[in-house]
């Protein structure tokens, strides 16, 4: 069923009896050409592009829980193309362009809202670093604008400009950045993939791989063995666990990132704002809640919940940046599993096993990457060559010396 304004009017007049499920609930077949493990944003986007752009058929997405139950439904919904390094920025700019056309492509309202992102700076050194970053972004076809304090005061008068310790000197603004309704991204990709013939199979956990003579033959699941020509794994925080079924050790640790939402308020924030002197970022959802977060907790974990010290730290950051936030009540908070890589950048690569492919290491920033990640992973699965924008995302980049370390902190996953 195609969604349109006309359809809504027609359904309104006929008692909304004509809506059908957005995707089919199917039992797994015995054999597929392509199996995607993980029904998060990346897995579903991969299936969509594999079917729609690369014209492949006989594709299944296997999800251990329900689609959208992982990070794709837990993140703070920020999209941006404001990276510095050459291995990253073309990829994230490609992703931003896909976001800009996503709703037409999917025939689904994902509430893509380019409301802008302001990265605040507090020192001269930070301003120079942001100017350099802005130039790198512009060179790669993205947009960037440097605002001084006076210009910034006009756009965000409520900020604590005269904070004695961290005065706000200005901001690097990325106008095309913004937010997207995260669940709708999962649902939109799922519905579109389904309409192109992809089987989306929920409550189906992959528990092992069948590998013979260095070639993958299929996957063991909680619903029995399913044969496959090629298997692509995109399970985010569970990457190490799933790839251990193929006896692989990854350059990844799993950590928890928490997020927070306040009660609904009238519109107060123009876009996304990030504090440059502590780890705190905030935006306002269309329902009015302030959506904010900060650092990861910092220790290995598979529990999808964090601890209180980070809650305190995040709230302190909020109070330092915009004291008015102290008047809002916190409504809910939760955590999601981060696949933190050793240089803070992701992987989209083949493995040493014929027919087994890996997508992961997205850290706390994989939501914005969803369209490009799906596109590039589909490209790799379909053609066995990396997509032009994802050639740097190799699993062997540490031994070859080609890490992509935006922060320059080295092999310390909890510092990226």
């Amino acid at each position: 069923m195609r969604y349109s304004g006309l359809r809504i009017i027609k359904e309104a007049l006929t008692g909304h009896k004509g809506w059908t499920p957005a995707w089919r609930d199917v039992a797994p077949q015995n054999q597929y050409d392509f199996i995607i493990v993980g029904g998060g944003g990346h897995g579903l986007a991969t299936a969509h592009y594999l079917a729609k752009v690369y014209g492949k058929a006989r594709i299944a997405v296997l999800e251990k829980g329900w689609i959208g139950g992982g990070n794709v439904g837990r993140n703070t919904t920020i999209i941006r193309s404001n990276y510095l390094l050459p291995g990253n920025e073309p990829f994230y700019e490609f992703s931003m362009k896909l976001w800009e056309g996503l709703e037409q492509d999917l025939n689904y309202n994902a509430m893509v809202s380019q409301r802008g992102i302001m990265n605040l700076f507090h020192t001269d050194g930070q301003r120079d670093a942001y100017r350099r970053r802005g130039n790198a972004m512009i060179l790669h076809g993205s947009d960037a604008e440097l605002l001084d304090q006076e210009q910034l005061r006009k756009e965000a008068p409520f900020l604590n400009f005269d904070n004695a310790r961290f005065p706000i000197k200005g901001a690097l603004v990325h106008r095309r950045g913004g937010t997207v309704r995260h669940d709708a991204v999962a649902w939109g990709y799922a519905r579109s993939a389904d309409r192109h013939g992809v089987d989306i199979i929920q409550n189906c956990e992959v528990t092992g791989f069948k590998i013979e003579n260095g070639k993958i033959l299929g996957v063991e699941t909680s619903r029995g063995f399913i044969g496959a020509g090629k298997v692509g794994v995109a399970v985010a925080g569970s990457s190490s666990k799933v790839m251990s079924y193929a006896d692989m050790r990854l350059p990844i640790e799993s950590h928890v990132l928490q997020a927070f939402v306040s009660e609904g308020l009238k519109p107060v924030l123009p876009g996304v704002i990030t504090f440059g002197a502590g780890h705190f970022y905030v935006s306002q959802s269309d329902k009015g809640g302030l959506v904010f977060g900060g650092d990861i907790d910092g220790y290995n974990t598979y529990a999808q919940r964090g601890n209180l010290p980070v809650v305190e730290d995040v709230c302190e950051g909020g109070m330092a940046l915009m004291p008015m936030i102290g008047r809002a009540r916190l409504l809910r908070m939760w955590g999601g599993l981060m696949d933190m890589s050793m240089d803070g950048s992701p992987f989209i690569d083949k493995t040493h096993i014929d027919g087994l492919y890996f997508n992961g290491g997205w850290c706390y920033g994989g939501f914005k990457a969803t369209p490009a990640s799906g596109y590039a992973f589909a490209h790799l699965l379909a053609t066995d060559t990396p997509h032009d924008t994802a050639t740097a995302y190799r699993l062997d980049r540490f031994i070859s010396g080609h890490m992509i370390d935006e922060k320059g902190v080295g092999a310390q996953p909890n510092l990226h």
Binding site: S240, S244, P251, G298, N300, Y302, A303, I399
Partner: protein, 93 residues
């Protein structure tokens, strides 16, 4: 989380800095023929288990000792905390 420090009793995890998998204490032999690969694996690859994990916590805001804490990464339950000590000559960890 509270860490049962073997000398100081229960301490808030906030007093510690997390330093990752305790396997990092076993540095590879830099003279070995496969030293490049061994150091790559040592520096960059992790088991990252869902379950029991032996890990290093440095008591930076306390007595500055290093602990090896055994913790279940699925529940955050701490099963054991002991003082970390370097291997003696010829001793295996």
């Amino acid at each position: 989380m509270l860490i049962p420090h073997p000398l100081l009793g229960l301490r808030d995890a906030q007093e510690f800095v997390y330093k990752g998998d305790a396997r990092l204490m076993a540095r590879p032999d830099p003279q070995a023929d496969d030293a490049l690969q061994a150091f790559h694996d040592y520096t960059y690859l992790r088991d990252n288990p869902a379950g029991q994990h032996r890990e290093l916590w440095f008591h930076e805001q306390g007595d500055r000792s290093w602990l090896i804490v055994t913790r279940d990464t699925r529940t955050h339950e701490i099963l054991k905390a002991e003082l970390a000590r370097p291997r003696g000559k010829g001793e295996r960890t």
